[in-house]
């Protein structure tokens, strides 16, 4: 199953963002967006997520969390 993920690239590889994202694409990552501050969002098969983490250029791989506020009729938001 494909998962939406957020990848943070480690600080000392920020200058190679383009080649890092190319490498991740080869690992099966469907890139959604590359942020110049070293964050890449995209989707990948759940089974392939582990392979991304193995690269030293990758600092963190997390699933795209849903962010919430209360429903409109809630008194506390």
């Amino acid at each position: 199953m494909k998962k939406n993920i957020v990848i943070t690239i480690s600080e000392n590889h920020l200058d190679k963002l383009r080649s890092v994202s190319e490498m991740l694409r080869h690992e099966g990552l469907e890139i959604n967006q590359v942020f110049e501050f070293g964050v890449i969002t995209g989707s990948i098969d759940e089974s392939d997520m582990g392979r991304l983490k193995a690269h030293e250029e990758v600092l963190a791989v997390v699933e795209d969390k849903e962010v919430d506020i209360g429903p409109p009729d809630a008194e506390i938001q």
Binding site: F35, V62, D64, K65, V67, I69, D73, A74, Q77
Partner: protein
């Protein structure tokens, strides 16, 4: 007639003192689960199956149980009112074939077990539905008073303030003539706010006065950047929020206000992607503010850590205070190593703009506290346009008023306008 024992679901009856009643409401009601509310009044309804049982029941009430009986048909001109029933234990609704009985429990048991043709049920308490809370709409902008905004000569003039939320109601009359730049990062949804939360937060950070000239907004001359990163159901993906932060930073916004978040577990670390985005915004000359989160229930001794992204070191986490300058019951606390509360601001019973047809609404949350700080930051940027984001952050903390509360709850204290 025994008086019914009733639960509470509304503070409408105490509407004359909204704040007191709201606090009582908070303590007594909102932390209580619905199934903990009393369900029965302690009285019983006896349903009479037919005319025969009707007469029989009447006899049983009077002779066997020694109860005093009143009939609804005795009240010919006015509907029966319980105040006039002090001398009766039973009220028979003749037209309905129903009797309200307030006898002792053993009498009721005897009635239920020995009598055919009767159905005995406990009288239920009827509640206002949970999802339509009673509202008090007495406008008060106490938040602008205690933060010194009303006395400040700064208005955030020319400062770009981004509010990343559910969008904005472009038809709101209070914002006609204002400079508003917007973008939606939510797929298939326009920026127009069909939730309300975004319009409320923008109102506090950047609004001015309502139709009666009551001021509710802090940076009333700021340039508004409305980024829609939460959909009309009030939820969003992290990637939308990262996009919104990048958009605001690249457009020269000096403040990003985020009244949003995900719950964080004790010992959970901050999210490096959010931290990176916040650092990027700082390099572009912007201060990032986020709500500390509403997961705590202090009155029930439940304290939860500052949520994400407010728990990032480069994001200013804002806690909520009430008008007595006490920590709001729901406001989160510094528990995890990095997730510190940095500052506190008004966040209980905050009056601000809301989409039509309501136009205004008074609600509570750390979501309401964060835009107060965002607005005050805009005033600081107006005063010190050449400063760095770090200097502005520091100045905000210097100006904060210390309170006799713990810094894990309020950080540097109550945010004060320059």
């Amino acid at each position: 007639m025994k008086k019914p024992i009733l639960g509470k679901q509304t503070f409408l009856t105490e509407n004359t003192e909204p704040l007191t009643s709201f606090q009582r409401f908070e303590k007594e009601i909102y932390q209580e689960r619905a199934d903990e509310k009393p369900r029965y009044t302690g009285r019983f309804l006896v349903i009479l199956k037919d005319v025969l049982s009707f007469q029989m029941a009447n006899d049983i009430f009077r002779s066997n149980l020694g109860l005093r009986v009143a009939h609804s048909k005795d009240f010919q001109f006015i509907p029966p009112n319980e105040d006039q029933l002090e001398d009766a234990d039973v009220l028979i609704y003749d037209d309905l074939g129903v009797a309200l009985v307030s006898g002792e429990e053993d009498q009721i048991r005897k009635l239920a077990s020995n009598t055919e043709g009767l159905i005995v049920t406990p009288e239920r308490i009827v509640y206002v539905p949970n999802d339509i809370p009673a509202k008090i709409e007495i406008p008060s902008t106490w938040g602008l008073e205690v933060t010194g905004v009303l006395d400040s000569s700064y208005t955030g003039k020319g400062i770009k303030v981004a509010v990343l939320d559910t969008g904005f109601d472009f038809n709101h009359p209070d914002f006609s003539g204002r400079s508003i730049t917007c973008n939606s990062f939510v797929p298939n949804e326009a920026v127009q706010d069909l939730h309300g939360h975004g319009t409320h937060c923008i109102g506090t950070a950047c609004g001015n006065t309502d139709l009666n000239m009551l001021r509710y907004g802090v940076a009333k001359d700021s340039l508004i950047y409305a980024g829609k990163v939460l959909n009309n159901q009030g939820s969003g993906a992290q990637s939308w929020i990262l996009s919104g932060m990048t958009w605001a930073a690249n457009n020269g916004c000096k403040v990003i206000s985020m009244s949003l978040g995900s719950r964080v577990a004790p010992d959970q670390e901050f999210d490096p992607a959010y931290e990176r985005a916040a650092q990027y915004a700082i390099t572009k000359g912007c201060v990032v503010v986020a709500a500390a989160g509403n997961e705590s229930r202090r009155s029930g001794n439940e304290f939860n850590p500052v949520g994400s992204p407010a728990n990032c070191p480069s994001v200013m986490a804002v806690a909520a205070l009430d008008s007595d300058l006490e920590v709001a019951d729901f406001s989160n606390r510094s528990i995890n190593a990095d997730g510190k509360v940095d500052i506190a601001a008004p966040g209980v019973l905050i009056y601000s703009s809301w989409p039509a047809p309501m136009r205004y609404r008074t609600i509570s949350g750390t979501s309401m506290a964060a835009p107060h700080v965002a607005g005050i930051l805009a005033l600081l940027w107006e005063k010190y346009p050449e400063s760095s984001p770090e200097e502005i952050w520091q100045e905000l903390e210097n100006l904060a008023r210390t309170l006799p509360l713990e810094s894990v709850d309020i950080g540097a204290g109550l945010s004060i306008a320059p």
